[in-house]
């Protein structure tokens, strides 16, 4: 018998729990050749800002043991070009598209949320709060519970679409951040965004990345991600999307046991562009083999 792979994510019905992570899957189109988008649960766009952003100078990426650092600098086409050039593609696909976005100020966050709310092709919003607050001297929104709550409240006020808040792992107390966002009106939490890391080129005596530090992703970070998902899942009521180093169905199922309702595949799509679809297929096969008839029975089923 075919197991039930569907999950409900803050009102969005997904055919399976496998999503793609922002910044690793373009605007969906880039992977059309490798992934049948209608075989995965949902996909998330590159992070959008009000104005287009050209991003950082190069080098922007570097490999590290079991992972990679990126300092793309949130390069994106901006909300206007998104609406004109990318939304038509979203319409053609029968899979929820989630718009990831970020601002430099709370007002920018709210303006973007309001505009994205008006786009019927956008099924849900994912707020990236791992960005520096230009008004508060560069303190990252996502590292202070009050600051994060203000962003979430401002977005919540202008959208009735499912609002996902994406948490930064670079904090002392991820549970406090999670609760603050839940209380401020988040429908769902996704975690983790990248850790902050650095790589050095010994011979040139310089940082490898032009930006000096970068976001650390890939299999290396999985233990941190799994720990945070487990901690947050115990503490909040809203559903959770697990992210961080997921390379295969085993990794994905571990996150679900830890308490995630859905998962996002990030860096893995670079290594294997068909990763997301393959993970969905292999998860289903695992369920069949292990006699599990509903993926939902595994959510948070870790025995501790």
């Amino acid at each position: 018998m075919k197991p039930d792979m569907t999950v409900n994510l803050a009102g969005m019905q997904l055919r399976n729990p496998v999503m793609t992570a922002s910044g690793t899957f373009g605007y969906g189109e880039e992977f059309a050749e490798y992934v049948d988008l209608e075989k995965i649960g949902a996909f998330v766009t590159k992070g959008l800002s009000l104005k287009p952003r050209a991003g950082n100078p190069t080098p922007r990426i570097v490999e590290t043991p079991g992972g990679m650092l990126n300092a793309i600098g949130l390069q994106n086409v901006g909300i206007d070009a998104f609406i004109q050039k990318k939304v038509p593609f979203l319409q053609s696909v029968n899979t929820p598209a989630i718009a990831n976005f970020f601002g430099n100020t709370i007002d920018e966050y709210a303006e973007l949320a309001g505009r994205l709310d008006q786009i019927p092709e956008v099924a849900g919003l994912e707020v990236n709060i791992s960005c520096p607050n230009v008004k508060q001297g560069g303190i990252v929104f996502g590292t202070d519970p009050e600051c994060a709550a203000s962003v979430v409240k401002a977005c919540r006020a202008v959208t009735s679409k499912p609002l996902i808040v994406k948490l930064s792992p670079n904090v002392t107390d991820v549970v406090a951040m999670a609760k603050a966002c839940e209380d401020a009106g988040a429908d769902c939490l996704s975690l983790i965004n990248t850790l902050t890391g650095m790589a050095i080129d010994l011979n040139r005596r310089r940082p490898v990345l032009a930006n000096i530090t970068g976001g650390f992703s890939g299999p290396a970070i999985k233990p941190v991600a799994l720990r945070m998902v487990w901690q947050v899942a115990k503490a909040v009521k809203v559903p959770i999307i697990g992210i961080g180093g997921i390379m295969n169905a085993t990794d994905a199922l571990e996150f679900i046991l830890a308490g995630a309702t859905a998962i996002q595949v990030g860096t893995a799509s670079f290594i294997n562009p068909g990763a997301a679809q393959q993970i969905a297929v292999e998860m289903e096969a695992w369920l069949v083999e292990n006699g599990v008839d509903d993926i939902k029975s595994l959510i948070g089923a870790l025995e501790t």
């Binding site: 373009g26 880039e30 992977f31 990426i61 992972g67 990126n70 793309i72 290594i271 294997n272």
Partner: protein
């Protein structure tokens, strides 16, 4: 296109440089000169990312035994510089590799009635052989190949066999002229009457020199760039290079893996 490829041969052609032939699906035969592949060196996590390599050649292996199936293949020419290429060099015939490609935008073959000047530095020759193979069908082709020493000037015989006139230069004078290969290019440009197109691949300094020469003389020039790549398909935005309008204040980046790796040199930003 993503496919599993079987290695047909893998041999060191010059100290530190290897040439690998591997099976490809029939559709691969239409790879344009200048396109590249992303190779997954190893199924595990070390190295994690795929490695990009130009397509050196494509062809079809016709078995000696009549009636046996023909086998499309492609070749890469690579230099061992780090972990990934070191691992590639240990692979043997019949080992399997996961390949993504052909990717990117290749060279524009240009008009038939002009001379084609190909400039390659070291392993930069890799994507230029398939280009030469196409160009010689319609135009006279000259190759200007440079390297640090004679070991860095590769596969010249193969180019000569195509009917390409080859000029070589090495920094230590161990092969051809002593100095930079752009000297010979400049002499040829001085002697030239009629139009020409330059095609170049190699270290960034060499490309910069060639681009400046082309700009000064108003000659059309295409260069193939390298860039640190994670995905090869336009998703990570790691591989970008500054476009001609780029400045720190008004950044303008081009995506090397999808808009390139081959660019008109005028599209890009160069140092004077």
């Amino acid at each position: 296109m993503q496919f599993t490829s079987m290695i047909l041969s893998n041999a060191e052609v010059s100290p530190g440089y290897w040439r690998m032939r591997m099976t490809a699906p029939p559709e691969f035969a239409s790879a344009a000169p200048g396109q590249f592949v992303m190779v997954r060196v190893n199924g595990a996590i070390d190295p994690l990312l795929r490695r990009p390599f130009g397509v050196f050649d494509v062809g079809v292996h016709i078995p000696a035994q009549s009636g046996a199936m023909t086998q499309p293949y492609f070749e890469m020419l690579y230099r061992v510089v780090g972990k990934g290429t070191a691992m590639l060099s240990t692979l043997h015939k019949t080992d399997l590799l996961d390949i993504l490609g052909p990717l990117g935008k290749g060279f524009d073959l240009g008009a038939d009635d002009e001379e084609k000047l190909i400039v390659g530095g070291g392993v930069g020759l890799a994507p230029l052989y398939l280009l030469a193979k196409e160009l010689v069908k319609k135009s006279p082709v000259r190759l200007f190949a440079g390297g640090r020493t004679r070991d860095d000037v590769l596969c010249i015989t193969e180019f000569e066999r195509l009917g390409v006139e080859c000029y070589t230069a090495t920094e230590d004078g161990s092969l051809g002229e002593c100095g930079l290969v752009t000297e010979a290019l400049l002499r040829r440009l001085d002697a030239l009457d009629g139009k020409a197109t330059i095609y170049a691949c190699g270290p960034h300094g060499m490309l910069n020199a060639v681009a400046n020469i082309a700009a000064e003389r108003g000659i059309s020039c295409q260069v193939s760039l390298e860039g640190y790549m994670a995905c090869g398909v336009g998703a990570c935005l790691g591989c970008v290079a500054p476009g001609h309008k780029h400045s720190p204040e008004t950044p303008d980046f081009r995506c090397v893996c999808t808009e390139g790796p081959v660019f008109e040199s005028g599209e890009l930003k160069w140092r004077d």
